[in-house]
């Protein structure tokens, strides 16, 4: 299975990179841009018995390593293809 994990700073945590990118977009004329966040994507192949098992493993990975729960939230997509 293919897993894609997105990690962003939590909404209550100031995302200074997002703010800087947003200011730059405004500077280029895209004044309608707001709530810009900069995060990261971690993609990997995973050997798992089924989708439920893969989801459980990815959740554990996010909680242990891929995201820092103090400051970050995450979202995972699992593709069985």
């Amino acid at each position: 299975m293919k897993a894609t994990v997105q990690v962003f700073l939590k909404s209550g945590v100031l995302d200074v990179q997002g703010k800087a990118v947003e200011a730059a977009l405004h500077g280029l004329g895209w004044t309608g841009v707001s709530h810009t966040r900069v995060g990261r994507i971690i993609a990997f192949d995973l050997a798992a018995a089924d989708r439920a098992a893969a989801e459980a493993e990815v959740k554990a990975m996010c909680e242990r390593l891929l995201a820092n729960p103090v400051i970050e939230s995450w979202r995972a997509e699992i593709d069985e293809a």
Partner: protein, 220 residues
């Protein structure tokens, strides 16, 4: 007296820490590679030095927090051995869950490298006793992710329990409540963003960092 400095791939203040501890306390210092599964016997202080362990991959300190030696560092801390994480070491201790909170990208987005004035907020810790009644200190910061963050409840608890040990007089990175250094609940694990290892004799602009090492060695 014996100290250990852990060396991760990408540590760059490990030698600075060793020299600072040797010159300010006379303690013997052993360097410990991060793959080791034991610390030197009878160690009194373990230092996690500054630098960019694992190139700051994923998050600063995240990979180092999972290095084999960290199980030993955690066990030593539980036994009451003093552990000090400086800069990247502070980030590693937070990532390892040995200290609360996290270090975010600096509010100004810039890497900040300069001497800063600090308030010594608690003079009665194992890391500050040698300051006696001195409430001011100067040390150098060098960080891009030194912006201390914790939720309000955690910050209240840290302040209420006297665990904020150092504060910035003029906050260089946006740290919550001007926090520059904290200790864990038992008081023997210190995380500090400014570098005591860059301020251990007057020729470096300040000798205040030596007091941190002298405090902790006197407590051993």
């Amino acid at each position: 007296m014996k100290a250990a400095v852990v060396v991760f791939p990408g540590s760059n203040c490990d030698r600075d820490c060793a020299v600072a501890i040797e010159r300010s306390t006379g303690a013997r210092v052993e360097m410990v590679w991060h793959q080791e599964t034991a610390l030197p016997a009878d160690v009194d202080l373990v230092v996690l030095p500054g630098g960019f362990s694992y190139g700051d991959y994923l998050r600063a300190g995240a990979m180092a927090a999972l290095s084999p030696v960290m199980a030993e560092v955690r066990a030593a801390a539980t036994r009451g051995v003093a552990v000090a994480g400086v800069c990247n070491g502070f980030q590693i201790l937070c990532e390892a869950g040995m200290l609360p909170g996290a270090l975010l990208r600096n509010a100004g987005l810039k890497y900040v490298c300069k001497p800063v004035d600090l308030e010594v907020s608690n003079l009665q810790t194992r890391f500050t006793a040698a300051f006696k009644d001195r409430r001011r200190a100067t040390m150098t910061v060098g960080n891009g992710e030194g912006n201390y963050f914790a939720d309000e409840e955690t910050l209240d608890r840290l302040e209420g329990e006297g665990r904020v040990v150092f504060r910035y007089a003029d906050n260089p990175n946006g740290s919550a409540r001007d926090i520059a250094g904290i200790v864990d609940g038992a008081g023997n694990v210190l995380g500090i963003m400014p570098h005591p290892d860059r301020a251990f004799e007057e020729d470096l602009g300040s000798a205040d960092g030596a007091l941190v090492f002298q405090s902790v060695m006197a407590s051993a």
